[in-house]
Structure formats: structure tokens, C-alpha cells
């Protein structure tokens, strides 16, 4: 049986579009039909606009018939995490605070994708304001893991990962602050790339923690990841933290960069808390690279143990300030009960934000308070520098670091919801990458006995995406994990 359209990769679809085997409208209709069939079970989407995406598809087909196709992504529907702004579409951050907010402007990544003909398709669920690791913290209901609907898809970009895994989009965008792309990619069996901080403009991305946030693609293959990255990377004058650097042709470089690479295995990432099945799958991947002639070195990243602590100080400090603008004054939820301005702030925010968001705002406000700032925020920034230095020192001898993406495969919904600390530890392997500003990718590297996907994390050098993708691609070429698809028809839908 041939792969249905909705499970095909961007590269495959792109070639079928260019040979006119399919049209963009046909592809889009297939995606819409699939979404309508399965999203009641998965709940990856907060919203979508069929009419709008079909009219975009029609325009793409018209371009193609005139020979004016804009590139590999022309006519391909792309799902957007509901924190990335698309003009005229909802922008909710899965929060009651922005439940009815329609964005009047395009994010830079949106502009870039539109410029190459990609279709903006649907708003994908997340943990409210990207705060969480399970997409259970959404104000609009949790997203389910397509491989086992009783389990979480990871988070915070759980909707982006689940939609892709369930065939509801050929590629999606997410954002990654402490692992929010890589961890759900691992838990849903897809490829998730967190680029180097500064490679992709954050203009139009709802800020959680400005110094850590980075947009990145979810794709079925590493090649697709290269295609997507090529479309959205590059300096943006509207984002002062975006970096001026030459953007290589990532897709072409997949073939040009051939190793063998020197790979570092950080001993701190293989200790207590690592699920044996995950450990085994990652070790097999390491073995594969060794068999291909890569030099494998054990390395030490000694400040790893502080990463989660440092992260929850810096990220919460920044979020406490970033989320101050949601006050019920200009837009967003405004309490109807308020009697004066202070009351308006208190009630609008109390009603508009969920528990995890409030917890982080309170924590962040505390660590920035006078008298505590030196002990927490200032010290955390210093340790952050040490964590980055750990990686940069290691890169003197190696080209990339190999680790598991997540300590465990997907866990059951509700399992960690009552224990924030256990939830925070889901990101123990991914957080260091954000603190150090490095690129990291999660690719499928096997399945547990119960059939849950396992992710392998590869961490590259700053702005070393071309090498990182080539390294991941060399693994993908000889493994077929990505060609398995979850069987949603066999699973009973879970009540949302």
C-alpha cells in the first residue's frame, strides 16, 4: 500500500506538485479531510480556516500553471504553533487571556514562508504561553499523543508535533525555550530542530523567555527540516537579537558534508532517571555512528546539573516581565468585575492566566525582586555562562554532542500534572542547549516495546546547522524509523 498523501514528506509532496501528479488544492483537501477525521481524537489544533487555506492553495496552483512557482514549499500547508503571528488569524498562546485575539500583523517567519509560497494552515495547540512539557496546560484542552492517545505528546509545542505525526500537516512550526520542539518531536516520532539562538527572527513570536526562545520546524525527515530552515532563517532588522550570517543552502549541504564526525557523549546525560529503553536506543545510534567511522569521545559538561535550576530562574524572570503586557487594558481578556485599574489588573490576570503561567510569573517576579536579584537572577546568569563555556570547551575536540532527547518516552496524561518539578525534569537534556544558545535536533531513533517513539538529540556548534543536519541525515538515510505511522483508526478517541 502506498503512503497516503497526508503522511508524505515535504520533499515527496514537492516533487509530486512539480510533476503535476497532485495539485496544491488536492493536497490541501487531503490534509483538511485527514484533520477532520482525526483531530477529534488528537486535538492538535486550536483552530483552522478551511476556506482560507484552500484559497491560498488555489493561488499556488495558479502560480504553478503560469510557471511562476516560488520553490520547494510552494503549495505545501504549514501548521503554526499558536504563538506565531499570522495576519488575520487567531493568536491565542492557548490562553484564555488571548482567546479572542486576532493578530493584525505577520511574524517574520510567516512573511518568509508566504514569500516562498507555503500555505499558512491552522493554529496548533501548546502549553499556555509555551510553559510546560506535555501540552496539558492549554486553556483549550490537552493534545493527545497519536501513538497512544492516553499519553501526552510532549510540550510545549505538543500540537505541532502531534499534528505532524497524525498526518494533519506535512510540516509545522514550533518554538523551543527549554526543549519545546525537541522533546515533543521525540515523543511523537518526528524530526524537531531548535536552531542556534539568533538564526531565526523572533519578531511575531509571543515571547516566553526572550533570551531562550527560538522558532524551529517539525518535519518528517531531516531533509524536510533543511528545506524549512532554509526558508525561515536569516537576519531580520526587526529583531535586534537576530544574527547577521550567511545562510547556506542547507538542503544541498546535506550531501556535501560527509563526516566522519567527532562526536562527544556527555557522561552527565546518561545517569539516573534515564529510561533503559531510551538508553538502549541512543546507544545503538552511537554504535551506528562509530560503525561509520566517527570518533566517539566521552566528554564532561560539568555544569549540567545546574541547568534546570538556572533555566527556571532566567526563564521565569523574563516571562514575568514579558507577560506583563497582558493586562486587560488594550486587548485580550478584560475582567467584567473590575472596579478600578488595580482591580482590573488583578482580576483580568487572575481570570486570564492558567495555574502554570501564574506559578512562573510569581517565581520570576520573586527572583527579580530587590534583595533577591543578586542571589538568584544575577547568579543564574553567571552559571549560564559556565554552561555555555562547557559546550564551547568540548567543541574544541568534537563536532557534535549526542544525547537522548527526553529521559523517557511519552508518559501518561495526568501522570505529572500535579508535580511541577517532575514535569520540569522532562527537559533535563534539552535545557542546556537553550541556555548555551546552541542548535539541537531530535530525530527518531527507535521505539519502545510498547511502540512509543524514542528521540535522539544531536547538538551542534553555534550556527553549525548545515553540519548538524548532515550528521542527522546520515543516520536517517540508513534507518527507517520515520516511515512508521501511528494507527489512529485503531485507537478509541479520548474525551477531551
Amino acid at each position: 500500500m502506498s503512503t497516503p498523501l497526508y503522511f508524505k514528506s515535504v520533499a515527496e509532496l514537492s516533487s509530486e506538485l512539480s510533476t503535476k501528479k497532485i495539485s496544491s488544492v488536492e493536497l490541501t483537501q487531503a490534509i483538511i479531510a485527514r484533520t477532520k477525521a482525526v483531530d477529534s481524537k488528537v486535538h492538535a489544533f486550536n483552530s483552522f480556516d478551511e476556506t482560507d487555506v484552500l484559497s491560498q492553495a488555489k493561488l499556488s496552483d495558479e502560480r504553478r500553471s503560469l510557471g511562476k512557482t516560488l520553490g520547494a514549499l510552494d503549495g505545501i500547508p504549514i501548521g503554526f504553533k499558536d504563538v506565531i503571528s499570522v495576519k488575520g488569524q487567531p493568536l491565542t498562546a492557548s490562553s484564555n487571556m488571548l482567546k479572542n485575539f486576532i493578530s493584525p500583523y505577520d511574524a517574520t517567519v510567516t512573511e518568509k514562508l508566504k514569500a516562498v509560497g507555503a500555505l499558512s494552515w491552522g493554529r496548533l495547540n501548546l502549553d499556555e504561553f509555551a510553559m510546560g512539557s506535555s501540552t496539558e496546560n492549554s486553556a483549550f484542552g490537552q493534545t493527545h499523543n497519536p501513538w497512544d492517545l492516553d499519553r501526552v505528546p510532549g510540550g510545549s509545542s505538543g500540537g505541532s508535533a502531534a499534528a505532524l505525526a497524525a498526518g494533519e500537516a506535512p510540516a509545522t512550526l514550533g518554538s523551543d525555550t527549554g526543549g519545546s520542539i525537541r522533546q515533543p518531536a521525540a515523543l511523537c516520532g518526528v524530526v524537531g530542530l531548535k536552531p542556534t539562538y539568533g538564526l531565526i527572527s523572533r519578531y511575531g513570536l509571543i515571547a516566553f523567555a526572550s533570551s531562550l526562545d527560538q522558532i524551529g520546524p517539525f518535519t518528517r525527515t531531516v531533509e524536510d527540516s533543511a528545506i524549512m530552515l532554509g526558508a525561515i532563517a536569516g537576519h531580520d532588522p526587526r529583531d535586534s537579537t537576530s544574527f547577521k550570517t550567511q545562510i547556506p543552502d542547507y538542503r544541498a549541504e546535506l550531501k556535501n558534508r560527509k563526516g566522519p564526525w567527532k562526536l562527544g557523549i556527555p557522561k552527565e546525560y546518561f545517569g539516573e532517571g534515564l529510561d533503559p529503553e531510551v538508553a538502549h536506543a541512543v546507544e545503538s545510534a552511537i554504535h551506528f555512528y562509530k560503525s561509520k567511522g566517527c570518533e566517539i569521545k566521552e566528554i564532561s559538561l560539568p555544569h549540567t546539573k545546574y541547568a534546570v535550576g538556572v533555566y527556571y530562574i532566567i526563564a521565569t524572570a523574563e516571562c514575568s516581565s514579558n507577560l506583563a503586557r497582558y493586562d486587560g487594558v488594550r486587548y485580550g481578556h478584560r475582567s467584567k468585575e473590575a472596579t478600578d485599574i488595580l482591580d482590573l489588573y488583578f482580576k483580568s490576570r487572575a481570570e486570564g492566566f492558567g495555574a502554570e503561567v501564574k506559578r512562573r510569573i510569581i517565581l520570576g517576579t520573586y527572583v527579580l525582586s530587590s534583595g533577591y536579584q543578586d542571589a538568584y537572577y544575577v547568579r543564574a546568569q553567571k552559571v549560564r555562562t559556565l554552561i555555555r563555556r562547557d559546550f564551547l570547551d568540548a567543541y574544541k575536540d568534537i563536532d557534535a554532542v549526542i544525547t537522548p532527547t527526553s529521559p523517557t518516552p511519552a508518559f501518561k496524561a495526568g501522570e505529572k500534572a500535579a508535580n511541577p518539578l517532575a514535569m520540569y525534569l522532562c527537559d533535563v537534556y534539552t535545557i542546556g542547549v537553550n541556555l548555551a544558545g546552541l542548535p539541537g535536533i531530535s530525530i527518531p531513533c527507535g521505539y519502545s516495546k510498547s511502540g512509543l517513539p524514542i528521540g535522539l538529540q544531536l547538538i551542534g556548534k553555534p550556527y553549525g546547522e548545515a553540519d548538524l543536519l548532515a550528521l542527522a541525515h546520515s543516520y536517517e538515510l540508513e534507518h527507517s524509523w520515520g516511515t512508521r505511522f501511528p494507527d489512529l483508526e485503531a485507537q478509541k478517541g479520548v474525551r477531551l
Binding site: S85, L91, A93, I206, T241, A324, I341, Q373
Partner: protein, 482 residues
């Protein structure tokens, strides 16, 4: 009063005159319809980011260079967190621990004993100058408050002085001098009516001889230069009366109402905000290197008081004239341009500060708009000096230039204003004038040389303005010497 001394420090906010806002490209402006000078960044919509306006950074570095400040090598941005509806992000992007300008001073001039006597000059030391973004404006109605975000995001400098002033006159002189410097540098127009310059004052009193400062009160909303003077005087008297009646000054912020001349407490120290300053992660620090500073240094104009001293020394014009010319940079430039063409600095000074100012005032023009260009005025003054026309005729010519922009020679020719009376007539008119004013004659004979002027008016009148003034003077002197 005598056993106490007053200590005043000012915090002055000056809007920087840039085309676009501090962190986005939308226009700045005053008097536009509400909320039209906004964009997603000004309104703090979800997902937007700030980008620094380099022109505003130029302006503050230039201010620092003009005021003799140390310029920080790095421009770093911090967030000042507090909730208030005029601040769209609920934090203000500002500079906390690394202001761009440190130290420096403003030279002030205190009022002289009389209008034509120069007052004492002093240097008021500055603590710091930093750059930030302005907030929006709340308009309170009876049942609702409306917000206008047009002003929000306008580049704003905060200039903080040391607690170094001793009375309201010094504060007044400080603001006047600061405004002149800002206008000179092209940094701001400092129009307080438009909110381009706003001032808060920290005021304390202490027994004379005491070293440590007394408890300070911050006085807000001093919205015009005269309110600054009145508000500070009022606060000094209030503090003195509190202390004299055995009370204690409470550290607080008070709101001054210039209309009623009263103040009331806004908040005490206990309610002070914790602004939770931290470096803004959306903005990279910007290096202010030597070439950058050198470029701005080259753009810096001569400081106003330096220019005034130079005018008095080099052109030998009186203080009163310089104190009209110098505060207005365009006017003093006009003066110098004219002197360059015709010399006669004193005459030029008189023409500019009297006739030119009166004429443009009447016409509602600026110096730049006036049709009387330095070339016109210089040519006119040359005609007077050469005795070609009388001063009376020159005034007529001047008015004509102001409306037509013609060169004076043409006007003199066309209107037949040339001093053309024959020497016979002149001799006759002079004799008549002397004969009809015996009092002036007596004075002149008694040695009062200026009494000669009393005869000139009637002679000119008889000549219908066409007598050569030089010749009139000569003729009178000859006749008087007989």
C-alpha cells in the same frame, strides 16, 4: 530661614527630536489625532520586538559631549517593571546601572542686579543622563479614563543633577540654560507646553552647617518653567513651616498644582515601587566607540555662554544685546553672518535685536523665513555708513525689504530716498535748527556733545529724510564752531 539652607536636585525629562520613535519606525509628533502614531510595537501587541533608534542614541551622546559628560563605551538597556496603563508593555525600556552619560555640568546665569547687568555664573554638576522611552497620556473623564499612545515610545532623556542648587532661581536658571543647550544642539525644542521638557524636583532643607542632607520631598508635575520656580518656593516654605512648628519632614512625592499654587502628597516612601530592573533580553548592547563620538563631536555647536562671552569681547557689543542674540541660535548666526559682510557689529546688533525682531514678530515669521537676509541688511547698513541714506530712510527701506526681499540699492533708487539735498539748502536748514533750539545750543556750548543730535531731527524733517546724515553732522559742527 536664616538658620536653614535649601538643597535642590532636579530630574529633567527631555524629549529627543527624532523622526521616529525610540524602538520602532512609527513617527513621533504632537497634536495628532489620538492613537494615530502607533503600531504593533507601540501598542505592545503579542510577539513584537523593539529595535533601537540610532538617531536617539546620537542625540544623547551629543548632549553628553556638549555638557562635558563622560560617555559610557556601551549603551545597555534595562527594563523598568511597573504596571500603569500609560505604559503599554507594563515595563519601560530604560537604562539603570549604566547610563550613557555620567557627570558633566550645566553652566547657569543667575539674575543680575538689573536687566542690563550680567548675573553671576555657576556650574551645576550633573549626576547622569540616560535614555528611555516616553509613556502615553491618560485623559480622565468623569466615568472613564481614555489613553492616547501617540506619545508612548518617544525617545526621552532623563537628566539628573546633583543635589546642588540652593533656591528656586537657580533651578529656573538651570532649566533656561539647559533648554538653550538642547536647542543649540538640535536635540530638542524643549517646549514645556508640548511636554518636550518636564521637570521633577527633589527638595530638602537642613540646618546651616549640617553635612548630611535633610529628608527629601519629590515635587512632580512642574509643567512650566515658572511653575518650577513657584513650586519650589512653595515647597521650601512648606518644609520650613513644618520644621518650625516642631514637625518632621516625611519622605514623599508631592504633586504641585500650578493653577492653585498648592501641593498634595501622592505617595510616601513606604509605597515606593520595586521596579525589578534587569537587562532587556530583546536588545543587544551597542558599542559607542571613538569614531562615533568624534563624528558627533564635530557636529557640536559652540556652547551658548561661550558664544556670549565671545560676542562681548570680539564684537564689543553690550551684554543686553548679547542676551537677546545668544539664546536664539538662528538669531546669533544671522548676526554673525551679517557682521561678516559689513562689519559694524554694534549697528548690526541694534538692527537685529530691534528692527528685525520687531518686523518678524509683526509678520509672524521665523528668522529663516524673513525676506531680510544678512546680505540685505549688510547692504543697508553699508548705505547708512556711507551717508548715502539717512536712518529714517533706512527704516523705510528695511520695511520694504521685509516684504519684497529686494536689495536696498534698488529700493533707494526707485523710491528716490538718496540723501540728495543741496549744500545751500542744508546750510539753511541747519542754521534754522540751531536758531530755533537755544536750549540745545547752550548745552552744546557747555560741552555736552550729544546735544548736537537735537538739531538733526528738524534738519532731516526739513529735508524730508533725504539729507546725508554725515553731511548734516559736519555742517552743524561747522556752524556751531563759528
Amino acid at each position: 530661614m536664616n538658620e536653614y539652607e535649601v538643597v535642590i536636585g532636579l530630574e529633567v525629562h527631555v524629549q529627543v527630536k527624532t523622526n521616529s520613535k525610540m524602538f520602532t519606525r512609527v513617527k513621533t509628533g504632537f497634536g495628532f489625532p489620538e492613537n494615530t502614531l502607533t503600531d504593533p510595537v507601540v501598542l505592545a501587541l503579542p510577539g513584537v520586538l523593539p529595535v533601537m533608534n540610532h538617531a536617539a542614541l546620537d542625540a544623547i551622546v551629543k548632549s553628553g559631549l556638549l555638557l562635558g559628560c563622560e560617555i559610557a563605551p556601551l549603551c545597555k538597556w534595562d527594563r523598568k517593571n511597573y504596571f500603569y496603563p500609560d505604559s503599554p508593555k507594563n515595563y519601560q525600556i530604560s537604562q539603570y546601572d549604566q547610563p550613557i552619560c555620567l557627570k558633566g555640568h550645566v553652566e547657569i546665569e543667575l539674575p543680575g542686579a538689573a536687566r542690563n547687568i550680567m548675573g553671576e555664573h555657576k556650574l551645576i554638576p550633573l549626576t547622569r543622563i540616560h535614555l528611555e522611552e516616553d509613556v502615553g497620556k491618560l485623559n480622565h473623564g468623569a466615568f472613564e479614563s481614555l489613553i492616547d499612545y501617540n506619545r508612548a515610545g518617544t525617545p526621552l532623556m532623563e537628566i539628573v543633577t546633583d543635589p546642588a542648587m540652593q533656591n528656586a532661581d537657580e533651578a529656573f536658571a538651570f532649566l533656561t540654560a539647559l533648554k538653550t543647550v538642547m536647542v543649540y544642539g538640535g536635540i530638542s525644542d524643549c517646549d514645556m507646553e508640548k511636554g518636550q521638557m518636564r521637570c521633577d524636583a527633589n527638595i530638602s532643607i537642613r540646618p546651616k552647617g549640617q553635612k548630611e542632607l535633610g529628608t527629601k520631598v519629590e515635587l512632580k508635575n512642574l509643567n512650566s518653567i515658572s511653575y518650577v520656580r513657584d513650586g519650589i518656593s512653595h515647597e521650601i516654605l512648606r518644609q520650613l513651616s513644618v520644621v518650625k512648628s516642631g514637625g518632621k519632614i516625611v519622605q514623599e512625592t508631592r504633586d504641585y498644582d500650578g493653577q492653585t499654587g498648592t501641593s498634595q502628597s501622592l505617595r510616601t516612601k513606604e509605597d515606593a515601587h520595586d521596579y525589578r530592573y534587569f537587562p532587556d533580553p530583546d536588545l543587544m548592547p551597542v558599542k559607542v566607540d571613538e569614531p562615533w563620538k568624534a563624528r558627533l563631536k564635530a557636529e557640536c555647536p559652540e556652547m551658548p555662554f561661550d558664544k556670549q562671552r565671545r560676542f562681548m569681547k570680539d564684537y564689543e557689543i553690550p551684554y543686553t544685546i548679547t542676551s537677546v542674540l545668544v539664546p536664539d541660535k538662528a538669531l546669533s548666526d544671522y548676526f554673525e553672518a551679517t557682521v561678516k559682510l559689513c562689519g559694524q557689529a554694534q549697528a548690526v546688533g541694534n538692527w537685529v535685536t530691534n528692527d528685525l525682531l520687531r518686523e518678524i514678530g509683526k509678520r509672524g515669521e521665523s528668522i529663516a523665513q524673513s525676506k531680510v537676509k544678512p546680505e540685505n541688511l549688510a547692504a543697508l547698513i553699508r548705505l547708512i555708513t556711507a551717508g548715502t541714506i539717512s536712518t529714517t530712510a533706512a527704516r523705510e527701506v528695511f520695511t520694504e525689504i521685509a516684504s519684497s526681499g529686494e536689495m536696498p540699492d534698488g529700493i533707494v533708487e526707485r523710491k528716490g530716498l538718496k540723501a540728495s539735498a543741496s549744500s545751500d539748502d542744508l546750510e539753511l536748514w541747519c542754521k534754522d535748527a540751531i536758531a530755533s533750539d537755544p536750549k540745545a545750543l547752550a548745552e552744546f556750548k557747555a560741552g555736552k556733545d550729544s546735544a548736537i543730535n537735537a538739531f538733526k531731527g528738524p534738519v532731516m524733517k526739513a529735508a524730508k529724510g533725504k539729507a546725508n546724515p554725515k553731511l548734516v553732522d559736519e555742517t552743524l559742527r561747522r556752524l556751531l564752531a563759528l
